[in-house]
Amino acid sequence: MTRICPPSLTAFPDGLTASLPIAMGYFPIAFSFGVAATRAGFSAGEAFALSLIIYAGASQFLALALLTSGAPVLISAFTLIAMNLRHVLYGPALMRAAGNEASTRRAWIWAFGLTDEVFGQALGALARGQPFSEPYMFGLGLGAYASWLAGTAAGAIAGGGALDGWPAVNAGLGFMLPALFLALLLSILTRAAVPVIAVAGLATVAGTLAISATSGILLGMVAGAITGVLRR
């Protein structure tokens, strides 16, 4: 599959627009992180620095737990690094779908934004026939990153309980990411992908219930990908 990227002035704004559901889903999660960080005794600046530098939700929450429990710096860092190892697969999987002609000249900047959700959204766009474009990837990643940083700052400044009076809004925002993943799953659904999806889902449930949520995610991805290798 080869798609050459046509020069397009709308690619960057298109990417920003596509980041909207991710940004709306990220904001409350990052908000919660900002609240949790200040409750754990860190300053708003320190909470913001964690989001700015690490930019990986689950491992940021884990960083708070490790740092407040007094875990050594290297142990904490390697735990977080192990947690994000799955991201190694995203770039190659995305570029395979983008085709051989797709440019990665500016990937040193936009690929930092390849979070779980950005990867899923980009892959879904390619599956729907949209050509790969670095400005689109930059817009998509920037919208999500900006929302993550803004949410962290707002949460750290507002403190706890800001959304407690708005349970329906809180619930709707909390459902944003599951809804996005489901929509993306529907957008890439093919007969050939069904066994991969089924095995990945079952392995995730088994791994999460038997070990931990992080292990479940890693196990699900690897089990699904191996299913794809075994099917001809």
Binding site: P21, L89, L173, A179, F181, A200, V205
Partner: protein
């Protein structure tokens, strides 16, 4: 500034950058066209999205039984809008809105 926090953030952040950027720039997907690596990478996308969906809904369906109905309504809304409009953004927003409205309606 807490220097332990900064050191952990920098180590984890640099590793994150390397995990996301280096395999992308190295185009490791070109290493074995048609081979097992290519099939592995092709399956990684659907597997990752399925995994992330299951991981994101598991807490809702295993911890909060009272949240099952809003969850079901939100899920049906996503599916219905996707079938009708083939829009990821529209389906996502519809699912979130109906989930929030059902939480409000059910008290």
């Amino acid at each position: 500034m807490n220097w332990d926090l900064l050191a952990v953030a920098l180590l984890a952040g640099v590793a994150n950058w390397a995990f996301r950027v280096l395999p992308t720039m190295a185009r490791t997907d070109r290493l074995a066209p048609g081979g097992r690596l290519e099939r592995f990478l092709a399956a990684t996308g659907p597997a990752a999205i399925a995994t992330l969906f299951v991981a994101s809904v598991l807490p809702a369906v295993t911890i909060d039984v009272a949240g099952l109905l809003p969850f079901a309504i939100g899920t049906l809304a996503v599916c219905a809008v996707w079938v009708a409009r083939r829009s990821v953004v529209g389906a996502t927003l519809a699912g979130a809105v109906l989930h929030g409205v059902s939480v409000w309606a059910l008290g």
